[in-house]
């Protein structure tokens, strides 16, 4: 009974809007799970295994995120350190590398603790420059110091791309948790993360669903042959509407700031998806790994987030948050 009391007290201490938000996500997922259970009965003969895998993986991902968000900023930072690490490992493993690059690869992983340390210390001005300026400079120097000049620029760029997307940009998600409670946050700092993640993932799913049902005209045929104008526009409108509706409940955004987030975030999500697709096409792979059943690799799941996270953070900092 003590445990139940403790859980009740813990939940009572959380902002109600955050709990409603998480509850809403679970409700949506439950609906999807019910549909995936009914579909084979209504329309038999098709293979629904991937859909089932996808939804099963969503349960796991949402459980991890919800647990981290409820546990606080430390747990959320730890989770995103792991996410950055796995994403960078997937990226550097797909990119062309050489045996001589092994120490540079090892050094690239050190950018993760270096960057996240300034999230832990809540030192935003240093976080802003540690990867984009100093890791940017150190990487080519290290390669030069190891005496490597063959294919130099292309190899340096590989590391830069991995560090910026997987470490720096993803770090913004965790940094949202450091907005202090002195700010007018309707659902706590965790509400900001929840809004960003729900909007980004909803955009992915909405584009997919609109594209599947109405898609006719290909939008970037040479990069992603399955993406259509109908999917992009439908996803854009649906996600903008979603952000306009739930944004004020989970964040201090309102008015023009909220409108700009609602309009731009779905475009950034689409851009992230297409950009990572171009990279995967260049490397000749469809998925970055098989880590998440039904989804592919971690990098496949967070490709849109690498674009939406910094945009959301900067707009939030400009329009609604004093701390940054």
């Amino acid at each position: 009974m003590d445990i139940i009391e403790a859980i009740r007290a813990f939940l009572a201490a959380q902002p109600p809007a955050l709990l409603w938000g998480l509850g809403g996500v679970l409700a949506l997922l439950s609906v999807a799970a019910v549909i995936s259970a009914i579909l084979p009965l209504v329309r038999p003969g098709q293979d629904y295994r991937e859909l089932r895998d996808r939804i099963a993986s969503w349960w796991v991902m949402i459980a991890l995120l919800a647990g981290a968000l409820l546990a606080g900023w430390q747990a959320t930072v730890a989770l995103f350190v792991l996410i950055s690490f796995i994403a960078l490992r997937e990226f550097l493993s797909l990119a062309p590398t050489r045996r001589e690059d092994r120490l540079v690869i090892l050094a690239a992983y050190l950018a993760i603790p270096a960057s996240y340390a300034f999230i832990v210390l809540d030192l935003y001005p240093i976080f802003l420059v540690i990867v984009p300026v100093y890791a940017f400079l150190l990487t080519p120097f290290l390669m030069a110091a190891f005496g490597q000049t063959k294919g130099y620029l292309a190899r340096v760029t590989t590391f830069h791309w991995g560090l910026m997307t997987c470490v720096y940009n993803i770090g913004y998600v965790a940094f949202l948790m450091r907005v202090p409670s002195s700010e007018p946050l309707p659902a706590g700092a965790a509400g900001l993360v929840l809004l960003l993640l729900v909007a980004t993932e909803f955009n992915d799913v909405a584009q997919y669903v609109w594209g599947k049902t109405l898609g006719r005209h290909k939008i970037v045929p040479t990069v992603s042959p399955n993406k259509t104008w109908e999917g992009f526009l439908g996803g854009w409108a649906s996600t903008a509407l979603l952000i306009w509706l739930i944004g004020p409940l989970l964040s201090p955004l309102q008015g023009i700031g909220l409108a700009i987030v609602a309009v731009t975030l779905p475009i950034a999500g689409f851009a992230g998806d297409v950009t990572m697709s171009a990279i995967k096409r260049d490397l000749g792979v469809k998925d970055t790994s098989h880590l998440i059943p039904g989804h592919g690799g971690l990098l496949d799941r967070i490709d849109s987030l690498t674009f939406t996270a910094p945009l959301f953070f900067h707009l939030l900092a400009f329009f609604a948050v004093e701390h940054f």
Binding site: F85, I86, L92, S93, L103, I105, L106, G284, S289, H290
Partner: protein, 213 residues
């Protein structure tokens, strides 16, 4: 000692392999659940053994015995103890090959006990250049002695990047482990070895591209 080995594999080797390499397994359903069975994989790194130990479920892993070179793993008493009791190797006396001594006797005994023997038919670690070396036919002799034992071909992609031969610092890189459908002894070493080679190369063809030079 078995419980200690299982505990260490489950609590240390498996999370370590997952973190360092992703241990990206496809075809897990082809892994044997009981012995006698033979798992034949390509070999580029000590990480291969770590990966193969960590992809089996807890109830099976106590039966999994990697065949390993006695001249390399048993020369030092501490490493020897660790290799025998924790890694659980069955020693292969490579140096004694051709002298008339039965170098595969420990592997045969393990199969007779109903264990799952992991062999690297290339005989030694390659240079991660993605090429498969000529396969030695010891695996065919084991399959001949235990015709009821399935031989499961495995292709491990990328382990040579994590820890190549001659390096001591491991670097995290994603590894793919592709497990193929079991093949069986059909009588005839040459035909068996050709079948195994074809199966391993087919798995290699399915692996993600390895851009490593």
């Amino acid at each position: 000692m078995t419980w200690l080995r299982t505990l260490l594999i489950m609590a240390i080797a498996r999370p370590l392999a997952k973190l360092m390499t992703g241990a990206d397994v496809t075809g897990r359903e082809h892994l044997p659940v009981t012995g006698p069975a033979i798992v034949a994989a390509n070999h580029n790194s000590h990480v291969d053994t770590l990966l193969l130990l960590s992809i089996f479920p807890a109830r099976t892993v106590s039966k999994v015995r990697p065949a390993a070179a006695a001249d390399y793993f048993l020369k030092d008493p501490v490493i020897g103890w660790f290799s025998r009791n924790i890694i659980g190797i069955v020693p292969v006396a490579r140096r004694a090959a051709g002298t008339g001594e039965d170098v595969l006797a420990p592997a045969r005994e393990a199969l007779a006990r109903g264990e799952i023997v992991v062999v690297f038919p290339e005989g030694t670690r390659g240079d991660a250049s993605d090429e498969m070396a000529r396969l030695k036919n010891g695996v065919a002799r084991l399959a001949e002695a235990f015709p009821q034992a399935p031989v499961i071909p495995v292709w491990i992609q990328g382990a040579g990047r994590v820890l190549p031969k001659g390096e001591v610092v491991p670097v995290p890189m994603t590894c793919a482990v592709l497990v193929g459908t079991p093949i069986h002894w059909g009588g005839g070493r040459t035909a068996f070895m050709e079948g195994l080679r074809t199966a391993m190369l087919a798995l290699k063809a399915e692996a993600p591209p390895l851009r490593w030079s």
